[in-house]
Symmetry: D3
Subunit: 135 residues, 6 copies
């Protein structure tokens, strides 16, 4: 199995609803350093799993919908409305958007042969969350 | 599959028995930077896999039994007695203690729905060992 | 010259006023991983520059005034009111609070012999800012 | 499952054939920081998965065939001839060489009991590729 | 004193002339992860030392003259011709180009008030070189 | 000013005398990841500050006197006898040994032109100490 990982980041504001979150129920924020890992069993004729340039662009575009935003606002990211924007939920949201792009061919022909995807969000030097899914 | 990772560390003394260890047969020590990764397929009603605060506390408490100790001493950590405290053995010991806590409900309701656990010990900038198990 | 550095972090929301900030004029947020470096020419009788435990506590307490807050709110951090909470301004604010504590003896006797202080805020994997001052 | 990871690096020149590579079609180079992860379900009588010293030596020797070389040269690495030396291809080449050594007993008795191997090449602070295989 | 650091990278091929370089006399290559640190005693009216976006652009443009190139070629980088492109020499070359841009106003008004500059090139996980200069 | 940094590590056991150290008064241990930075204003005829290979060897040899040892033992490191082997004291001890080697010509001709030296010991992901001196 081959894997290719690209790194980018977002800086967002949000609050989390639920007693379990303690002081994180207040409006605060986070930098998420995002690692998107694409996986598949075969390389293409060029000897690559996926065009790393197109992968980086796709990640940057997906993250662009969250970057520099207050995720508590109704219209910030429609698909997140009503959900806590926890690190886990954001990891899944980003992974699902990247999966749509891979299937739509936005990652090139190689993107269509990918079989898995993992998105990890590093929220500090001591905590991170990830979501892994099939493609 | 979702994953949440928290990081903490311990500083211990020990020696390793067996020719294979060369100079590490002498009494020496290590800082282990410990990453504990909790995994499960579902988020709870709050949109999280596990309460990261409780997870960090559980890791800190388990590591507290090793921190600032000489693992060669009989009474340092009873369950390790008679075993080489190699990085692999320590990773398994920590993972097994965390598994007990997850099953006992110490990680909250979410902790009971976890399906896997991985503990990685970074012993330097060039070496690490991990133990991965089901829950 | 000796230096001791401890690391901690904060997660805040804020917005920045001024065209130069582009999309960062919107309410967003950041995780700042904070390195506080204490410097001085001499070690004390115990062979240390400063008690690293007390230094870490002082950093944690100072950061506690910012952690999980929206820095745009009037009453968030009084001393920041009216200023852009840029990474540079926050680094200076934290350094100045730590300097007050060192002079007040909160870092122990060793803290009074310190001659310099540097606070670095890592805002992502590709950007950081710092403020360095005498004590 | 236990895992042991050792880190080393190579500095190579190469060019990549194919329009998809854009400016990387020119002769350029890379430092690859290489993580080799050995996996297996059981520890040996010494309490280790594999002798970390022998593992590090094996990785260093395999990398020695690539280090400080121009991979475009015919005789640089025979087994790579005719293939693009993409990060993915290099990860597989290194993993396959390490697998041969494990089977040949170069990693000691423990090496023969390994069941899997993953090699990750970090090509910058924002991109990496890996190859994972059974043993 | 305030400091702002931005990170970027280049991937180049080169060889080094001189017995001291051993196997690095062969054509090989490197990824240099580049940290450019801008320093100055005062913040501007916006509360920043330098516009981090313009700083990142300036670094990217300067590095663009080296990225994906073979530095041994006559016309690669004219100013380097005849010099060993050691990590130290490259750090100085990049710092001098950034200094020209700061003086020319390419970093904005804030850039003209900068008093110092340091460029660090990380060539692997175990080695780096830097050049520090006044502005 | 040019700087060259090489990284290596040691794994030691020790205890610290003095109430200020709390649980670190017990015999425990540490991995110190060591960065040795050599500084000087001029490059030699080869375009380097110091031969990085010789610098790395010198660091490895100096660290070899501490690696895999119990620093509490009388004969472990004679020059440390009677002193607490705090991170600060170890940083100075290593820096002083490297300074002797630089002056003795062990770093080559370039080593004699060095003007400064800084040694940083990372004892965990959240704490480090350094010693900086002239040459």
């Amino acid at each position: 199995m081959f894997k290719v990982t690209v790194r980018d980041h977002i800086m967002i504001a949000h609050s989390l609803r639920g007693e379990v979150f303690g002081p994180a129920q207040r409006l605060h924020g986070a930098t998420y350093v995002v690692d998107a890992t694409f996986a598949g069993p075969e390389l293409d004729a060029d000897g690559i799993l996926v065009d790393i340039g197109r992968a980086a662009e796709a990640v940057c575009e997906v993250l662009g919908r969250l970057h520099y935003r207050n995720l508590d606002e109704e219209d910030a990211v429609a698909d997140l409305a009503g959900l806590n924007s926890s690190t886990e939920v954001l990891a899944r949201w980003i992974a699902d958007r990247l999966a749509e792009r891979a299937r739509a061919g936005d990652l090139g022909a190689g993107g269509r042969a990918l079989t898995g995807l993992e998105v990890t969000l590093h929220e500090s030097h001591i905590a991170q969350a990830a979501y892994e899914r099939a493609l």
